[in-house]
Symmetry: C2
Amino acid sequence: MSSTPSLASSLDLTTDVVSLTAALVDIESVSLAEQSIADAVEAALGALPHLQVLRRGNTVVARTELGRGERVVVAGHLDTVPVNDNLPSRLDADAGLLHGLGTCDMKGGDAVILRLAATVPEPVRDVTYVLYEGEEIDAEYNGLQHLSQSDPHLLEADFAILMEPSNAVVEAGCQGTLRVEVRTTGERAHSARSWRGVNAIHGAGEVLARLNAYEARRPVIDGLEYHEGLNAVFIRGGVAGNVLPDECVVEVNFRFAPDRSEAEAEQFVREFFEGFDVRLTDTAPGALPGLDRPAAKAFVEAVGGTVNPKFGWTDVARFTALGVPAVNFGPGDPMLAHKQEEFVPVAQVEHCERTLRAWLTEGGEA
Amino acid sequence: MSSTPSLASSLDLTTDVVSLTAALVDIESVSLAEQSIADAVEAALGALPHLQVLRRGNTVVARTELGRGERVVVAGHLDTVPVNDNLPSRLDADAGLLHGLGTCDMKGGDAVILRLAATVPEPVRDVTYVLYEGEEIDAEYNGLQHLSQSDPHLLEADFAILMEPSNAVVEAGCQGTLRVEVRTTGERAHSARSWRGVNAIHGAGEVLARLNAYEARRPVIDGLEYHEGLNAVFIRGGVAGNVLPDECVVEVNFRFAPDRSEAEAEQFVREFFEGFDVRLTDTAPGALPGLDRPAAKAFVEAVGGTVNPKFGWTDVARFTALGVPAVNFGPGDPMLAHKQEEFVPVAQVEHCERTLRAWLTEGGEA
């Protein structure tokens, strides 16, 4: 936590994108300990005369200022989940896989960002590169969130790409998420005289019956089919082994398609559990795909046309909240994120770099 | 925990039963700290020439050896639940209530035992008085249980009375108790892609549905109507707020009438939850009322005829396991046991003493 200079790792942005991924992986950067990697990123980008570089905490922003008619954001987080005996990186050249903590989530994407920043000095659309801290932990530490509050103008853009792992396929929009506690109450009684009480766990039977009868809505938005879900994620109740419990709490997570607002989603859940005590504990909005925007259309064409809906919640929703349509597009299988054995296919990292380079150089302004 | 002599509390067994109750209450005797009270009880009983007194741990046994044709046990535990700002005792003479920790559970009953032991030197049936330790905590500390293993001959009898609070009414037999864990399993998945998993909490809906459909059996045994009960006492499940849980456990307590054995009760529960993973965690047998035995009949007549079934499990079942029919008959409302505000009605303590004295002196041998 010292602010005195340390032996800084240095990054060579002229090397190939896979070597650069490995170099980034080998700078340990668990959440809340991103100073070394942010120092290295800031130093490498600061050496490039065509970029304006700023730093906020351990978040680094680099912008071209070419006066283009469009501006796009390309962003990735620098932090990882905790080390789990999976450092340093290890390249399996035969299989074409780079193994190690953060290879998938998401230093492969970060390497693509740094390569583009270094090697496309005159993109056809102005670019804001954002490499940020604190994504893998509570939202209060999220560097993108901080930036949206401290310097919202830095995130102004027509379109944003978040390089979260998506198997190098565009994932557009994201579903919202909301959590409620559905609570049943009863009256305690000794279980030997159970007719004197009311069992709150038994009362939760109806809550589970409704969940079992739930049918998921699958709306199509901008040509993408979303898939909602309503699930109990926790259940708890009980006082003692010989007592009828007077309270049972079912924690329910609703994942809702981005055509519903948070308020609409809450209303749906309250109506679904009508007659029960429903308390909202957590909510985050979805993000519409926004594929009708010119920059988005051009991007999808450059990538090759395949677009999937994003089911999970990601930071694309933060861009949507700022009025910036955003998609995920990064190397790596999202199902491998946070797994000890995570890896990234070399071909996907290279594909992402190639595709984005084409979009930033060959694609015309819309 | 020292075994060196301490300033012993002394008990005056010639005083009235209510003053003696107060004196017992004022010797603090939370479970595992019964030495002082056991010392006082042993000293008081040891001074009586008509009794043979033995001690095992902090359990005191006193027996008449008159060669009567029948022997009965009269038993009470000496320990209490923890102190909760409810010592020393306090007599409300106007209301006729003695307040304080253990007044109800069960030093009122203990005082009756000591008064009978001291003042009925030649009972018409031989009596074994047992004042024992460790009833309010795990069964491994139970003094009656210890005695049944170390000196089972000391508990041989035709009938036993446990002076547990029962509002000075005979409660006969007791229901058995059994606990099982009913477990559902599923497959974890991210809640944003819930169709890829199987939610184990939702699977528990059927367990709760069956519990809600349960109809309690109410068999009549020896003229007493029992009342079974099948209740969830705990439920737990959940991995994280964004994960479909792969396990949910419902802990179920079955209280069964004493016409079922433990094995039959287990079979009932396994059939009730057929199709689910059912694990037996805990079981204790019920006790039949045994009101057809001569000593029991004479006792019920002496008390005045009102007999209720005992729904909760008590140490009467330990006597039944030894082949000794047993009933509860003690002063105090069992619903007040373990409550901070516990008290005992003076009239009930006096009634119990009077009734038992009559049974031990006037009633002829059967």
